[in-house]
Symmetry: C2
Subunit: 348 residues, 2 copies
C-alpha cells in the first residue's frame, strides 16, 4: 500500500499577518505534515496557536529548532531569515523565505510557480518568495510575455496596509475610528515602522512603501523592478514602479501598462490569454461594471485581472487592473505553492 | 476717485459639494461682488446659505434668474448647464461652467489659467472649467511641456469621493463606520450614481469613475485624455489614463509618467521648473520623507508635486506624484480664478 509521504514543517513567525495565513493555507490545502513546529521571536514564545483543531505552543526559533525539519517557511523579518535560514539549511531543511533577505542573491531561486516553477529545481537550500506586489504583477504578465513578448512595464500600485503587518492594520482601524469621531489621528507605524516620520493612513494615501533608496525610489519600488527582471529571466526588461499605501486592509491593486512585442494585438486576445492562464481569473466586462476590487479579491488565492484596454495611441500598449490578496498569493499561498511544487517534482 | 468695479454674480448649484466651496472661495478672495444670487434646483429652493455673514435664500434657477447677472458660476450638473447656460449668455452673463456639458464644444475655451489663460479672451459667453483630475495634472505638466517638450503622458489616479458629491462622501462615512462595527456595507451611490451596480467604497478601491464608454474606457478617463489635449493645444499628444476611486474624502492624487522631448534632463531641472511654476508647490525630499498626500493638500488651493524620479530605463521618462484639493483647484478655485482673470484682462 502506498502511503502519501509526510513532512516535518516549521513556520517561523507564525503570529504575524503572513504567518497566520501560512497556517490557514497549510490547513486548507491539507498539506502533508508529519510534525508541525511553530517558531517565533523570544517575545512570542509560549503563546498558543491552533492548527487543525490542535493547540501548538510557540517555541523561540534557534538554530537547533530546525533539527529534523524538512521544510521551513520563514516570515519573521529579514534579520531573522539572514541569521537562521542558513542554520536551517545546514540541518537539512529547505527554506522558503518570505522576506527580502535572499531574493536577489545569486543561487537563490525567486519563484512564482505560474512563471518560473522550473527555477525551484536548482535551489541550494533557500528558495525566496517574491515581494507581494511583484508576485501578482508577474503572474498576470507572464501569459502576455509568453505569447506576445514584452517590451516595457509601468506600474502604479494601490497597496493594502496588511502588507506592513498586523500593527499597521490596527493603526488604520484606530485612526479610522478617530477620524469618524472627529478626533486627532495618531500615527506611529506607517508608512514604515522605524522610519523617522509617520503620517496618518486613514482617509489618506501615502506614496512611500518601505524606505527610500539613494536613487529616490523606495525599496518597494526597487523590489518590483529588480524582482520582476529576475523572475521573468529578463534582466534588460524596462520596468518602472510607483508604490502607494492606501487605507484598506487586504489585497493590493495595480494599474499596469505593458507594451508587447507583437503588432496588432487586440483586447480580446489578451482576455483569451488571461482566461487560459493558471492562477488568473479574468473579471472584465464594462457592460456589466465587472472588474475586481480589493474587497472582492480578499481571502481568495487567485490573481484577478480586469479593465483590459488597448492604449489609444500606442498599438502595442495595453492597460490592465490587477488585484490579489497580498497575504495569500502575495505571501502565504505562493510560499505553500512553492512547497507543493518542491514535493510534486521531487526537488526537496 | 477710482472705485473697484463690482459685479453681479450668480452661483448655480450652491448647495453642492463644489457650490459650497465656490462660496467659500469667493469670500476668501474677497471677490468684487455687487449682488450675489444663489440658484438651485426647485428641490433646494428656499434653503438658506450664508455669505460674508449675510443670509441668502436659494432661488430656483430659471432663464429669468440671469437677468442683470454679469458672471454665472455653474455647478449643478450637466443637464442644468445645457439648459440654462445658453439662457444666461443670452441675458448678457458670462458663464463659467464646472460641468462636462460644453468642455469639448468648439468655441468654448477650456481653461486652467496657469496653462492657457489666453484662451479666455476668445470666449463666446461660456468658459468651461475642466475635470478636476485633468486640472491638477495639466497644471503640473505645463512647466515641463513649456521647457522640455512633451512626447507622452500615462497617468493612474487616486481620487477622493467628494468628486462624486456630498452623497458619496456621506456613503464613505456611513460605510466606514459600519465596517468598523462589523456590519454589512450598504452601497447605493458609488462608483456612479444612477449606474446599474454599486460597490462599497469603504476600505476598498473602485476602478470606475463615471460611466463606461464604448471603447472600454470610463468617461472620466476619456475626459482626462481629451481635455488635456485641448487645454494644452496638443491634439496629437498621446495621453493614457486609468482612474480609480478611493476611500478618502478630499484631494485627488496622481501617479504621472511623462516623456519629454529633450535628452539628458535631470530630476533637479524638473524640480527647478516646479519651483518656478505658478500655482505649483514642490514637496519633494526623500531624505526627510517629504511628499504631498491627500490629507496634507486638503483645503489648500495649490497643486503639490513630489516623488519626482527619472525613469531607470528611459532617459526622457520621469515619474511624478501630483496632489491637489479636487474641490478647490479641481473645481471652485479654478472657476473663481477664471473669473478673476476675465476681470483683470477686461475680457468680460
Amino acid at each position: 500500500m502506498s502511503e502519501k509521504k509526510r513532512y516535518n514543517v516549521a513556520v517561523v513567525g507564525a503570529t504575524g499577518a503572513v504567518g497566520q495565513k501560512m497556517l490557514e493555507t497549510l490547513e486548507n490545502r491539507d498539506f502533508p505534515i508529519e510534525q508541525l513546529k511553530l517558531l517565533s521571536s523570544s517575545r512570542s514564545a509560549g503563546l498558543k496557536m491552533t492548527y487543525k483543531g490542535d493547540e501548538y505552543v510557540l517555541e523561540e526559533a534557534t538554530p537547533e529548532s530546525f533539527d529534523g525539519v524538512d521544510i521551513a517557511l520563514f516570515s519573521a523579518g529579514g534579520s531573522i531569515s539572514k541569521k537562521l535560514a542558513p542554520e536551517a539549511v545546514k540541518r537539512g531543511a529547505v527554506v522558503i523565505d518570505n522576506t527580502s533577505a535572499f531574493r536577489m542573491a545569486e543561487g537563490v531561486p525567486l519563484v512564482v510557480p505560474e512563471v518560473n516553477e522550473g527555477d525551484i529545481e536548482h535551489h541550494q537550500g533557500i528558495i525566496a518568495n517574491p515581494n507581494c506586489s511583484t508576485i501578482q504583477m508577474v503572474a498576470a504578465l507572464e501569459p502576455v510575455r509568453k505569447a506576445l513578448g514584452m517590451k516595457r512595464v509601468i506600474v502604479s500600485t494601490y497597496q493594502a496596509v496588511s502588507g506592513a503587518g498586523n500593527e499597521a492594520a490596527d493603526e488604520l482601524r484606530d485612526q479610522s475610528q478617530s477620524f469618524l469621531n472627529g478626533e486627532d489621528l495618531e500615527a506611529n507605524i506607517l508608512p514604515v515602522k522605524g522610519d523617522e516620520k509617520h503620517y496618518p493612513i486613514a482617509f489618506n494615501a501615502l506614496p512611500q512603501i518601505d524606505v527610500f533608496q539613494e536613487n529616490g525610489y523606495t525599496f518597494e519600488e526597487m523590489k518590483m523592478i529588480n524582482e520582476t527582471k529576475k523572475i521573468m529571466h529578463s534582466p534588460d526588461l524596462p520596468v518602472a514602479a510607483t508604490c502607494v499605501r492606501l487605507p484598506f486592509f487586504t489585497s493590493h491593486a495595480e494599474s499596469v501598462y505593458v507594451e508587447v512585442e507583437k503588432e496588432g494585438v487586440t483586447v480580446e486576445e489578451i482576455k483569451e490569454l488571461m482566461n487560459n492562464a493558471p492562477g488568473i481569473v479574468l473579471e472584465d466586462d464594462p457592460s456589466t461594471q465587472t472588474y475586481p476590487t480589493p474587497l472582492s479579491a480578499a481571502e481568495k488565492k487567485d490573481v484577478f485581472v480586469g479593465r483590459i484596454r488597448k492604449d489609444l495611441d500606442e498599438d502595442k500598449g495595453f492597460h490592465l487592473w490587477v488585484v490579489s490578496d497580498n497575504l495569500l498569493k502575495g505571501a502565504a499561498w505562493n510560499s505553500v505553492q512553492i512547497a507543493e511544487r518542491l514535493i510534486a517534482n521531487k526537488w526537496l
